[in-house]
Structure formats: structure tokens, C-alpha cells
């Protein structure tokens, strides 16, 4: 329905509305620049080092070419081991993340006595870098892929659980209410109200973490946790930069393939 035109006399002209001042924005930029300068001075990290180091960089690159193609058969098996470590670590970490994500979400009426400790654990796990996990597990379980796999379980668990519980908190509460009204119990509400909504996000995070884990698994060998990193460490130690470059190239190819694959799957999921 249209409102009839107002017959009241026109209001006196309102004061002209000016755009907000840009002083705040400018101050923000100045603070950022000041912080950068202070950090650079305190740590003695200056562009000067970049300039003096560049020739060194050039000679290193020259030594990397041509890559040692004959090394490819030797690194194939450890590379596959790296991928397998990543698959196991991501999957187990993702499975562990499901219950913790559900218990951490604030919209599922879990007691605070459970959800707060769960979130604490998540924050704690995420403060520990993957290499530190690997070093700890190498010390406990000895050198080998098992320690690397375990490191990735914890690393993936931290990422996936955190992202998933935030996704759960953002789901539409309507279907949960509908399931409550239908007479469903807590588990049934989760199964029919939460899971269908959160599953695509969970899968997407799982794939993303898998990509990250391939890269992480490639360096785990540096601390003796199996995979391609061991050979990379050896090649660098022996100044065989031609071998290091073939390892890097192969890793790049694998990461690109997985990246491409998971992008396609993620697009279908969401």
C-alpha cells in the first residue's frame, strides 16, 4: 500500500551531512609504519641485508640448476611415505576433532564445565607448532614416520576442531528448533540438525588441512620424523643443491595436484 503524500509543510533544510573525517584512518597508517620501523631497528632486520645477500642467492640458484633428475627414483618412495603420513595424520586428527568440536560449540547446550576445558585444550594444542610436536614424539617414540604421523594428528586436530566448532556456532538454529519440536533427543538433534549443516564445512577444513599437512610432512624429516624431509636435510648438509631442487620440484608437483583435486571437491561440497 502506498502512503498518501504528506500534506505537512516541508521541514526546514537539515544541516548538510559531511563525510566522516579521515584522521583516524591516517593515524592508523602512521602507527603501522612506526611499528614496522621500530621492529626493523630492534631486530636489525633491514633492507640492507637483502641487497648484500642477493648475489649469494644468485649463486645458490645457479647450483640448483639443472636439478639432478637421476635422484628422482630414490626420492619417490620417501615422498610417497610423506603423503601417506599426511593422509593418516589428517584423517585421525579430523576424527578426533569431531567430538571436541561438538562439545566446544556454545549453541548446543553443552555444560560450561565441559565446553570451556575443551576450548582450553584446543587453544593449547594450537600454540604448539607442528615441528615441536614432531621433536617431542621423536623423543618419545623414536625416529621414524610414526612420530611424524602423530605430530600431524595433533596439528590437524587443533586446526580442524577450532574451525569446525566455529562453523557449528554459525549454523542456522531453525532446524535445531524444528528437531526439538519433533521430539528428538540431544544426539538426534545433532545428527539431523547439526551434522547436515556442518558436514560440508568440516570436509572443506579437512581437505585444507591435508594440503597444509603435505607441506608440513615434507619438513618433519628435519627432526627425524620420517618422510622426504630426511633426504632434504641430507642434500642440504652435503651442499647437493641440485638434489634439493629436485625434491622441492617433486613436492611442488604433489602439492599442486592435491591442491587442484581438493579445490574441485570443496567446490562441489559447498
Amino acid at each position: 500500500m502506498k502512503t498518501p503524500a504528506s500534506t505537512a509543510p516541508l521541514q526546514p533544510a537539515a544541516p548538510e551531512i559531511l563525510p566522516p573525517r579521515k584522521t583516524k584512518q591516517l593515524a592508523g597508517w602512521l602507527v603501522l609504519i612506526a611499528v614496522l620501523i621500530v621492529c626493523s631497528i630492534r631486530t636489525k632486520v633491514t633492507p640492507y641485508q637483502l641487497i648484500t645477500g642477493l648475489p649469494q642467492m644468485g649463486s645458490l640458484l645457479r647450483e640448483m640448476f639443472p636439478p639432478d633428475w637421476s635422484y628422482l627414483p630414490t626420492i619417490w618412495a620417501p615422498m610417497m611415505e610423506t603423503v601417506q603420513i599426511a593422509i593418516l595424520g589428517t584423517t585421525l586428527g579430523g576424527l578426533l576433532a569431531i567430538p571436541v568440536a561438538l562439545l566446544s560449540a556454545s549453541n548446543l547446550q553443552v555444560s560450561r564445565w565441559i565446553s570451556l576445558p575443551c576450548r582450553m585444550i584446543l587453544n593449547l594444542v594450537r600454540t604448539i607448532p607442528d615441528l615441536l610436536f614432531a621433536a617431542i614424539f621423536v623423543a618419545v617414540f623414536g625416529i621414524g614416520p610414526f612420530a611424524g604421523m602423530l605430530a600431524l594428528v595433533f596439528f590437524s586436530f587443533g586446526i580442524i576442531a577450532k574451525l569446525t566448532f566455529e562453523a557449528i556456532e554459525a549454523i542456522d538454529p531453525g532446524p535445531l528448533e524444528a528437531m526439538t519440536a519433533v521430539g528428538a533427543n540431544r544426539m538426534q538433534i545433532i545428527r539431523f540438525g547439526v551434522v547436515p549443516q556442518a558436514l560440508p564445512y568440516f570436509m572443506s577444513y579437512l581437505l585444507y588441512t591435508f594440503e597444509v599437512n603435505i607441506r608440513a610432512a615434507a619438513v618433519l624429516g628435519l627432526v627425524g620424523a620420517g618422510g622426504i624431509g630426511l633426504l632434504l636435510d641430507r642434500a642440504l648438509g652435503l651442499f647437493r643443491y641440485d638434489r634439493a631442487s629436485i625434491i622441492i620440484l617433486l613436492t611442488l608437483v604433489i602439492v599442486l595436484v592435491i591442491d587442484y583435486g581438493s579445490t574441485i571437491i570443496r567446490r562441489k561440497l559447498l
Binding site: 524444528a178 528437531m179 521430539g183 528428538a184 533427543n185 539431523f192 540438525g193
Partner: protein, 255 residues
Amino acid sequence: MIEFDNVSKVYPNGTVGLRNINLTIKEGELVVIVGLSGAGKSTFLRSINRLTDISSGEIRVNGKSVTHAAGSQLRHIRRDIGMIFQSFNLIKRSTVVRNVLSGRVGYHSTLRTMLGWFPKEDVALSLDALQRVNIREKAYVRADQLSGGQQQRVSIARALAQEASVILADEPVASLDPLTTRQVMDDLQRINREMNITTVINLHFIDLAREYATRIIGLRAGEVVFDGTPAEATDEAFAEIYGRPALQDELLGGA
């Protein structure tokens, strides 16, 4: 049958949702609740299946106290009450039949429902429910592929699959256009008549209320200020419920 005994609801912030309500809705009635927004219509409806807790008094559905029920007792009462929401509240990514089947979870063990194994009879019942609202052919389409009116009919089918004896509908047509509004209201009326399901609907279109209801209850500031037949619900009566004459946008018009 739904009975309200001295029911009051005061929200924690002091807002009065319901004030001393005493009434009985008999089996097979199609009751339309009218009132301004904030008059307590939603609170009234949601307190029947206890999506909202009341502060004092007692509500009984088919003789069983909703107010004093807990745990599986409450879930069994809820299983018997279908609910239809303004925003449909379907799982958009699931198929239509899956959504209707979700109305059956209250009848099965947790383990069985976790695995998603519904008996053949449940599937047949769900397809039958979809047939009743004329969207049987959409059974295996994803719910988000459907129009608003179709989605609302899926949620009616979900209530039918529950084999509910009471259907509550909270502004079921507020997000639909006039044509689909009539289709959905026709469905609700037909189900109410054919299956003798007690139906309580919140509406803000007063002409729809007069057209479909067998009884109209008017709420104002949480109190029942009108309770009568559509014939008794004159323009003056509505002016009394609303505290002012009805506006043009409170009429759906057309038909």
C-alpha cells in the same frame, strides 16, 4: 485437546509474554491467534510444546502435563505435536523425503536414527504425507531447490509424518506471496478437517483469520481480549484487539 490453566509468562527482562491465560482448545478445532507483534502470539504457541517455558500455571496436551514433563516424557509429548515455522526450518541440503523422515526420529532408538536407517513403513508414510500436500514428485529433490510455498508444504508433511494429533503453525505464511499463502492455508485447513488434527495458527492477516478459523483468539499485551467465532470477529472486535482500526497491510486481499 489443549488446556491452559492460569498460564503466565514473564521474560527475564521483565517483558510480559502471557498474562493469566485460561482456555481450552478442543480436538479438531482450527484456532487462529491474532494480535499485534509483541502481543504474545509466539509465546502462546511455543509454550504448548515447551519451546518456551512458562513462569506459572500449567499446560496440558491431550490430558498430559507439558509443564511437568521432563526427559523422554516431554519428548513423547512433543512427538505428538507437529510444528510449522515461518522460516520453514528444513535442512536445506537434504532431500525432501529425508526432511519429512526426520519427523519420525522420536519413534526410534538413538542408535537406529544415528545410522539413518528408517523402516520401509516410515518411508511409505513420508511419501504419503508428501502426497497429501501435493508435492510427492519432489520427494528426492534437495529442499533448497524448492520455492518457499513448496518448502512450507514439506514442513507440513514433516508434521504429518509425525502422526501428530496437534499442529502448531507460527506465522506459517508470513514469508510467502498471496497465492502460495492460500495454497498453504488450504492445505492446513484440509488436513485439519480430513484428519481431525487440532490446529493452532498464528496469523497477522485478519481476513485470512476470518476465512479459515473455526475460532479466533485475540491477544493483547499477553492477555486474551477476544475469543469467539469468525462471525463474531467484526472490524470493531479487531479494533479492540489491536487497540486501533485495522490497517490496509493487515489484509491479504485478493481471492
